[in-house]
């Protein structure tokens, strides 16, 4: 039985579980499953033992630091970790050893998490799934050979398989929500400015968000509590009080208005029957919790994607320009190709995207007056086979997630059921800026009612899907 962070934290607090034993359970699953899943780039076994022993000493002396103390954890390998290589899953940074922790890494460390290692990512959070990098891509624990989505691919696989109980992700166009959806867990892209990005390798600074991934929304609330808060070193970090996200999980949903962005998942990019069933089931749960549900119409996914892609590729190319000119061979083919598109864009193209972005945000705000939450899809269906994922997939079909990178609004992916292939499908819940607690409360209500949190991918399922 793989515990949630909340349950493990309670068990540690009541001395029913030893942090060292909890760490060893995860280590055992890593040894058993990771040779097939490739969720880890690097397992930090010695560090994990030291962290767990320190947590156990605090447990013995009644000085635990809170609900994350002793929790086995992993960081996406774009989060810098002092003295531990941070590679971005790329030959460009294969031997890069940072001197300092990212702000969020330091905050989670101070909360007592046990660092199990660094997790796979699409190269620099943009290029994947790639088979020409120093490490293979992560695979989906629900089906061997299936895609995890990206870019927080290792975190998705590791949490689903119970190799860690939680992990970090980053989301520039959907990179937390996509893997959360295809791996059947919860992942929150917080409001822009809530979690500082200091020490996280950037992809596109006006779209980048740091956030938590875990089995449940409740666990994401616990992780967000540690990650959130102002950091003056990140110019995009907001200087405002951090609410109690766990307390906000218990808020009543009665009287809230939910807007269904039906044209996203029924027209702009039609989702599978199982995804549509999961969305309707989630809406039923929210209705039964006292919400009013009505349809809303936002600008089309086509418009959002045009703005998002031009913004993202322009900013990403600006970051990678020097290496694209001097050592492009050190990138994998997927990332090299995607960055090359950014090289073709002009200053006028980027400015047009920013003009459009402002307009899209204004129209989204106008269309959602009186609405507290939005609901739509995260992914069109279950995970495809990893070898079937095209280099240009995200150009060919519009993304459900990038609209909320452009607006900066908080958005959660959580499991809403299972498809015909037995793999998870997911629902996206979006809130207004700084309503992260309400978004998590809605996800929490859906998870408690839909029964999906009782089912984990088993090794037998992995073997059967070969």
């Amino acid at each position: 039985m793989i515990p949630t962070i909340a349950a493990a934290g309670r068990d540690i607090a009541h001395k029913r579980v030893s942090p060292v034993e909890l760490m060893r359970d995860c280590l055992s699953r890593i040894r058993e499953r990771d040779p097939e899943l490739h969720a880890f780039i690097r397992v930090t076994e010695e560090r994990a033992l030291a962290d767990a022993q320190a947590a156990e000493a605090r447990q013995a002396t009644g000085t635990l630091r809170g609900p994350l103390d002793g929790i086995p954890f992993g960081h996406k390998d774009i989060y810098e970790t002092a003295g531990i290589p941070t590679t971005a899953h790329s030959a460009q940074l294969e031997h890069h050893v940072p001197e300092r922790d990212a702000t969020t890494v330091a905050r989670l460390g101070a909360a007592g998490v046990v660092l199990m290692g660094k997790l796979a990512t699409h190269e620099f959070a943009f290029g994947g799934p790639s088979f020409d990098l120093p490490w293979p891509p992560a695979e989906n624990p629900w089906g061997r050979g299936h895609f995890t989505a990206g870019s927080s691919s290792g975190t998705g696989a590791a949490v689903a398989a119970g190799l860690v109980l939680g992990g970090t992700g980053s989301d520039t166009g959907g990179s937390i929500r996509g893997p959360a959806a295809l791996c059947g867990l919860a992942g929150l892209k917080p409001t822009y400015g809530l979690c500082p990005r200091t020490g996280i390798l950037p992809l596109a600074q006006t779209l980048d968000h740091a956030g938590p991934m875990a089995w449940t929304s409740e666990d994401c609330a616990l992780l967000l509590q540690a990650m959130a808060g102002h950091d003056p070193a990140d110019p995009g970090s907001a200087d405002r009080a951090v609410p109690d996200f766990t307390a906000e999980l218990a808020q009543p949903l009665t009287g809230r208005t939910v807007g269904v962005v039906r044209h996203f998942h029924e027209g702009d990019n039609p989702a599978s029957a199982a995804t549509l069933r999961g969305i309707e089931d989630s809406l039923r749960i929210l209705r039964e919790a006292g919400c009013t549900v009505r349809d809303v119409t936002l600008p089309s996914l086509r418009e959002f994607n045009a703005c998002g892609w031009v913004t993202l590729t322009s900013e990403a190319y600006a970051i990678h320009e020097a290496w694209m000119r001097t050592r492009p061979e050190k990138y994998g083919e997927f990332l090299r190709g995607r960055l090359a598109l950014g090289a073709t864009l002009s200053a006028a193209d980027y400015v047009q995207a920013q003009r459009r972005r402002r307009d899209l945000i204004a129209r989204t705000e106008a269309a959602t007056r009186g609405v507290d939450l939005l609901v739509t899809a995260v992914q069109p269906g279950e995970a495809p086979k990893i070898k079937a994922v095209s280099k240009w997939m995200s150009l060919e079909k519009p993304s459900f997630t990038i609209p909320f990178n452009l607006t900066g609004w908080p958005a959660l992916a959580t499991c809403s059921g299972f498809g015909e292939g037995g793999l998870p499908v997911s629902v996206q819940i979006v809130g207004k800026p700084w309503a992260d607690g309400l978004v998590l409360a809605a996800g929490h209500a859906i998870e408690r009612a839909n029964g999906t949190r009782d089912r984990r991918p088993t090794l037998a399922e992995v073997a059967a899907a070969k």
């Binding site: 418009e303 045009a306 459009r356």
Partner: protein, 65 residues
């Protein structure tokens, strides 16, 4: 998808950016560039009147804060 640029024009575009890529990858990227051109056309569809958007990014801060 919009018609991709002719190969020589696309190669010149990359060259002007100082980017040299393996020849075997160029054609694939050129074809994908058609998607990007379609996106750029979307971004150039008319917006609000020019006078209604005097600024879009810069907001001065009060130095006394």
């Amino acid at each position: 998808m919009a018609d991709p640029l002719p190969p020589e024009r696309f190669a010149a575009l990359l060259l002007s950016a100082g980017v040299t890529l393996p020849a075997a990858e160029l054609e694939d990227i050129r074809l994908a560039h058609g998607h990007l051109q379609e996106m750029l056309a979307t971004l150039r569809e008319p917006l609000s009147p020019l006078a209604a958007e005097p600024a879009f990014t810069f907001a001065p801060q009060d130095p006394a804060r």
